[in-house]
């Protein structure tokens, strides 16, 4: 069969909402794009553990501490689901980690911002996880089977992350003047980076059309961003806080909120590695990997020893 025929069969399957599975024929570009997209997502989950782990030892109550540990553990799990799904495309785990550690692969820029106060744990749960969920729910219907299945699992677990975040902010919003200030300050700092999580505007997002045709992206960046803004603009009222955007205004005609211009210079600056924490995050990740080497070696040695014992018995 010619490549054109194979490509036609492949696209027909996708158009008919039939999932592509690991051993099915797929165009190289589809495979490559998926490896990049899925591994970037996996890296984001793993690097995303760092800003929150920063507050585990300083959580204000045992309940909050247990929750935060569970959340960070979930992120590790999400990273693993996605790495495993990426490996079904023929990419090796070691190779993927290597790309992260050398800076060749990207992860979500949001994790290059610092977590300065406890309220940041709330703002991350509400806004960052909220934006992530907005991006991820449509991917539960992605055309690549292992990816879609991983996303279903992730989305189920992600909901608690967002709710616990909002609960943190809600508690602070009912607290002392200082706690309310802390709450507003966290929202002020996390709002714009969260809005940027949806990526460049549609007219500056050249791969969107192809990704949509392949159904590995189901809504455009701006569509999802608008949905996010509309939802948050209402939710923030429950907190009695404000969103730091003077142009945020309900547009009766559009039936959507209008919002202010995004600082794309800041966005690209962080993507290029010049955000407040890029170097720190990468260094922490590389250090964790290197300092964990003895554990991996010990586990291998232990497995070998056990195998030997079994042979002797």
């Amino acid at each position: 069969m010619s490549v054109q025929d194979l490509e036609k069969i492949f696209q027909d399957k996708i158009d008919a909402d039939i999932r592509i599975e690991p051993k099915d024929w797929m165009p190289d570009a589809y495979r490559k794009t998926l490896i990049r997209q899925m591994s970037q997502h996996a890296h984001s989950e793993i690097v995303g553990m760092l800003p929150e782990a920063n507050w585990i030892t300083r959580a204000p109550t045992l309940r909050r501490k247990a929750t935060l540990i569970a959340k960070v553990q979930d992120e590790a799990g999400h990273g693993l689901y996605l790495y495993a799904a990426t490996e079904t495309l023929g990419a090796g785990r070691e190779e993927l980690l290597e790309q992260l550690h050398t800076g060749k692969a990207k992860y979500s820029s949001i994790f290059n911002y610092p977590t300065l106060t406890w309220a940041d744990m709330g703002a991350i749960g509400w806004l960052v996880d909220g934006a992530a969920i907005m991006n991820q729910v449509p991917l539960c219907r992605a055309s690549y089977g292992p990816y879609a299945r991983a996303m279903v699992r992730i989305c189920k677990e992600e909901s608690f992350h967002q709710r616990q975040g909002f609960e943190i902010l809600l508690t602070l919003s009912k607290g002392s003047a200082g706690q309310r200030r802390m709450c507003q300050d966290a929202i002020d700092r996390w709002w714009w980076p969260s809005v940027m999580m949806f990526g460049p505007n549609d007219d500056a997002s050249p791969h969107t059309a192809q990704s949509m045709q392949w159904k590995i992206k189901r809504f455009s960046n701006d569509e999802l961003r608008q949905r996010f803004v509309d939802i948050c603009a209402e939710q923030v009222k429950i907190l009695g806080m404000t969103i730091p955007d003077p142009d945020l205004k309900w547009n009766e005609q559009r039936q959507h909120y209008d919002f202010g211009a995004i600082d794309w210079d800041e966005f690209w600056n962080v993507v290029k590695g010049n955000g407040p924490c890029n170097k720190e995050r990468l260094a922490a990740r590389v250090r964790a990997h290197e300092e964990g080497a003895w554990v991996r070696e010990a586990a291998t040695a232990h497995a070998e020893k056990r195998e030997l014992k079994k042979d002797r018995a």
Partner: protein, 95 residues
């Protein structure tokens, strides 16, 4: 030995007694015991399982998607294997 030499394992989970083990995903581990423990941490953090099977991925043999059409062809023209194939009067009860 480096991490990339840890083999890949397929994980199957029984969500409750009486149901089948179902494929949940895969992971790397040095041996079967570690694979089971990792599977517990990765795939059953919310009581999703009561039993775990792990199988080293290299031992899984699969049918080829390229041959799917001809491979499953023998069943294709045998509608008489389904109960609805048989034409029976409506008066006939309990069948």
């Amino acid at each position: 030995m480096a991490e990339n030499q840890w083999p890949l394992w397929e994980v199957f989970i029984r969500s409750k007694q009486g149901l089948d083990h179902k494929h949940a995903g895969s992971l790397h581990a040095a041996d079967a015991q570690m694979a089971i423990e990792n599977a517990r941490d990765v795939y059953t953090r919310r009581m999703e399982g009561v039993s775990i099977w792990v199988v080293e991925s290299k031992y899984v043999h699969a049918s080829s998607p390229d041959d799917a059409t001809s491979f499953y062809e023998p069943a294709n023209d045998k509608v008489y294997r389904h109960p609805t194939f048989y034409d029976l009067p409506d008066e006939l009860k309990h069948m």
